[in-house]
């Protein structure tokens, strides 16, 4: 973890003489003990340093990733320290640590294989080094808890003593991995390695960077997305105490001062003129019309799934249901606002920023400063929340490095205000979906249709081509719906209003399961069947959805008695390679105040690396989704976002936290994500319970727009 010591050490290094030349020599911030491989360093005193390449933003992967390495390494966990992989060494060693992104709930499932192999490979090298030292066959040597024993003679040595020799050996070609049922470290509720530093106030976030001679910047970006800076009257504020400079840039203006509060206060007094760029008249209503046109438009539409002929399927149905569902724009609202500290000096760029992808920040810093990748150092820090905002666009790094470049070689800390963070986000896209379903006489669906009209993150943010024009995120849960329905047609109308969209925790699964699973509930009611039995009947027994649905319903005691006035709702879906189900029990009084009695959340993520961490992620997901589904609503007026801070973009508080029970139902054989799936089934389960309690179908969020409040 990055702590106070690291900042001081690095800041002094900056002052040291840096050799000139095209590529600057690496300042090795890495420890100097023998490196067995890129992931494992063992010190003579038996301390084992396990490297972590991705980001820690509260999802706990810094610990669970190290558990996987330590498990195969057979080291003593109490002697393990986790250290970030250095991005400069990473670039110089041709991406020795692979993907550094903590996105898509893939931190563990995408790296579990090479992390375990790194642990096993290091263990083999240590065993061979010990065996050579004893002139004994390596087969007679075993490693356990950091100690190597030669069976026949009983001789022992420790990892630290043989690390020097082991580091010289060639890594083994093949390693065999343990069977998860034999795990001693992985799979256990190990305490998180970063919590002691958090609790003592030692941990450092991007906002905490502190460098000698550092100045501070606050910025204002064009309130209407896509607008540019026209003019600014710097003279108005240049006399204010502490103000150093006013920097007009293409799409923002920065005020630089000797502390951040003075920069921010001065910025408020700075007259700025923008050329809005044509979207200044857009509003939530005009955007809604764009989406509605997408629902009705016969052209400019692509087919995402087509099983059988829809018209015939619907024609043969005894009953046809139709409904439209809507989910709004949402902001990430990470508690740490966007920011970046940077210094550009003698062709070298140092950056401190809370990022979900240090490699992306590294590439952005190099491109912005116009220096080779080898001259950039992204210093790793903990994130005050990421939730997807810090994994895609690195806009805050571009700005931080631009301002640092304009300030000569003076270090600059850029920090956004909460207002700037709320009004210049990459929002969870809004989505308008029309669904139809034909039921046969016994109420089973024979045909299913969904038309999604929504923006495409992949087209607009990533500017990537789409296979057959289909954005997988926009149609997920519809195009891959698991129910046994003979005729399915899913269409996608891509509609991109001017509001920037990006990856928001759980992305498409934060909205589409709500729409699908509430509509399935409508079908169950029309069929006069129990919502749980109806789903169970339609889910092929072998599907993982079937398994987690049953486990969750059983844990919730689905068919059991309920106190008067308490009603249940249920939902199930795949998300991020895992399978989740939720049962909600709630009561609603005559003033529409919703008292959630109990929320039972089941997850099958294949393998569990740290059970306590999975439980924490499910509990956190409940708060994240309840906040979104009760109050989350980013609205547009005059081309800009109306919400600005936590007074008008409400966050759930402790007093509103319901009872959450988590059911871990790992079925093994695959690796599913954990950070995001937890949210996917919560909104539909609660809205289906609201239907059971009030008879009202909830077809759009947030609930506050339907007069509901949380108890």
């Amino acid at each position: 973890m990055t702590t106070r010591r690291e900042f001081l050490k690095v800041s002094t290094a900056l002052g040291g003489g840096l050799a000139f030349g095209f590529h600057l020599p690496a300042a090795n911030a890495q420890s100097v003990a023998p490196e067995i491989n890129a992931w494992v360093v063992v010190r003579p005193d038996d301390t084992v340093i396990i490297r972590y390449a991705r980001s820690e933003m509260g999802q706990g992967s810094m610990t669970s990733a190290a558990q996987l390495v330590a498990e195969e390494l057979e080291c003593d966990w109490s002697k393990v320290r986790v250290e970030y992989a250095d991005t400069n060494a990473h670039v110089r060693r041709k991406r020795a640590w692979g993907d550094m992104a903590a996105v898509g709930s893939r931190t563990i499932r995408q790296s579990q294989d090479y992390l375990r192999k790194a642990g096993a490979g290091a263990r083999e090298m240590l065993l061979i080094a010990a065996a050579q030292g004893w002139n004994a066959p390596v087969a007679e040597c075993t490693a356990s808890s950091g100690v190597i024993t030669h069976g026949p003679s009983g001789r022992k040595t420790s990892f630290g003593k043989v690390a020097g020799e082991a580091a010289k050996l060639a890594p083994p070609k093949e390693v065999t991995l343990k069977d998860p049922k034999d795990w001693k470290i992985a799979g256990k509720p190990i305490r998180r390695v970063d919590i002691p530093d958090i609790v003592a106030g030692r941990i450092r976030y991007g906002i905490d960077a502190q460098l000698p001679g550092m100045v501070y910047a606050a910025i204002a970006q064009c309130p209407v997305f896509g607008g540019k800076l026209k003019s600014v009257d710097a003279a108005k504020i240049e006399g204010r105490r502490g103000v150093i400079r006013v920097l007009p840039m293409e799409d923002y203006v920065a005020v630089v001062a000797d502390n951040w509060w003075r920069a921010k206060e001065a910025l408020k007094e700075l007259p700025i003129e923008w050329s809005f760029g044509g979207n200044e008249s857009a509003s939530s209503e005009s955007i809604q019309q764009f989406l509605r046109a997408g629902l009705d438009d016969p052209s400019n539409v692509v087919v995402a799934r087509r099983d059988g002929e829809l018209e015939q399927g619907l024609a043969g149905a005894a009953k046809v249901l139709e409904a439209e569902y809507f989910t709004p724009y949402l902001a990430h609202a990470t508690l740490e606002p966007m920011g970046c500290t940077a210094v550009v000096k003698d062709g070298r760029v140092d950056v401190w920023t809370s990022t979900q992808n240090a490699e992306a920040s590294h590439a952005t810093a190099a491109a912005t400063a116009g220096v080779p990748l080898e001259n950039v150092y992204v210093h790793r820090v903990q994130l005050g929340g990421g939730f997807g905002r810090r994994g895609g666009s690195q806009d805050f790094v571009r700005q931080g490095v631009q301002i640092a470049k304009a300030m000569g070689s003076t270090p600059v800390k850029l920090l956004w205000t909460r207002e700037e963070d709320t009004q210049h986000d990459f929002y969870r896209p809004l989505s308008l979906v029309r669904m139809k379903a034909g039921l046969d006489a016994s109420g089973n669906p024979v045909a299913w249709y969904a038309r999604v009209s929504a923006p495409s993150i992949i087209s607009t943010l990533l500017k990537l081509p789409l296979k057959e024009g289909v954005d997988p995120q926009a149609v997920v849960s519809f195009a891959d719906q698991p129910y046994a329905i003979p005729v399915v047609r899913v269409e996608y109308a891509q509609r991109n209003p001017h509001v920037p969209v990006g990856f928001w925790r759980t992305v498409g699964h934060s909205q589409n399961p709500f729409m699908r699973e509430c509509f399935v509930d409508e079908l169950a009611s029309a069929a006069g069947k129990d919502p749980y039995e109806y789903r169970r009947g339609l889910l092929p027994a072998a599907t993982k959805e079937h398994g987690v649905l049953e486990a969750t319903a059983k844990a919730a005691g689905w068919a059991g008695p309920l106190p008067a006035g308490v009603h249940r709702g249920i939902a199930v879906t795949e998300a991020y390679g895992s399978y989740v189900a939720a049962v909600a029990e709630l009561a609603v009084n005559d003033k529409n105040v919703v008292d959630i009695k109990r929320l039972v959340l089941g997850i099958d993520c294949g393998h569990v690396v740290n059970p306590d961490n999975v439980v924490a992620q499910m509990q956190g997901s409940a708060v994240f989704m309840l906040t979104a589904m009760f109050w989350g609503d980013i609205t547009i007026k005059d081309g800009r976002v109306e919400q600005s801070n936590f007074h008008d973009y409400r966050m759930m508080r402790l007093r509103e936290m319901p009872k959450v029970e988590v059911v871990l139902a790992p079925s093994g054989g695959f690796w599913g994500g954990v950070g995001e799936p937890g949210q996917a089934a919560i909104a539909p389960a609660i809205c289906n319970a609201l239907f059971a309690a009030t008879g009202r179908r909830i077809r759009s969020l947030p609930l506050k727009n339907h007069g509901f409040e949380i108890a």
């Binding site: 993907d99 898509g104 952005t364 190099a366 997807g388 990533l462 990537l464």
Partner: protein
Amino acid sequence: MRRRSFLVVLLGLAFGARADPLLDPITKGAPVRQGRVKLEMPLLADNGNSVAMKVSVESPMTEADHVRAIHLVSERNPEARMASFHLGPRAGAAEIISRVRLAGSQRVVALAEMSDGSFWMGSASVVVTLSACVDEMLS
């Protein structure tokens, strides 16, 4: 043939050359040899919209021995053929700098066509970090 696995190496061909499905439209199956072509692109690109590219081919560029053309081929873009540059002896030097567009992380191949009809190639892999969040889903 899935585009992503274009690197299927059919060994059995003479002097280390290999046929390559992505390059066949240009080479018509002629052998392609590694070497003489240097394709320089950054290891990381923050986004794929505009990535620096420099390709240079060792050649005396004389009437008798020169580079006729350099082709840039993408492993993942919707249009595999990114560009073709036609040179000839009047060029004096076979070196082109431009900025290319990459639809996600991928490998780019520079294929040089010599005046004697031989083909040589060099390649570079670029990680586009912005699309790291969906690379797996879109591949």
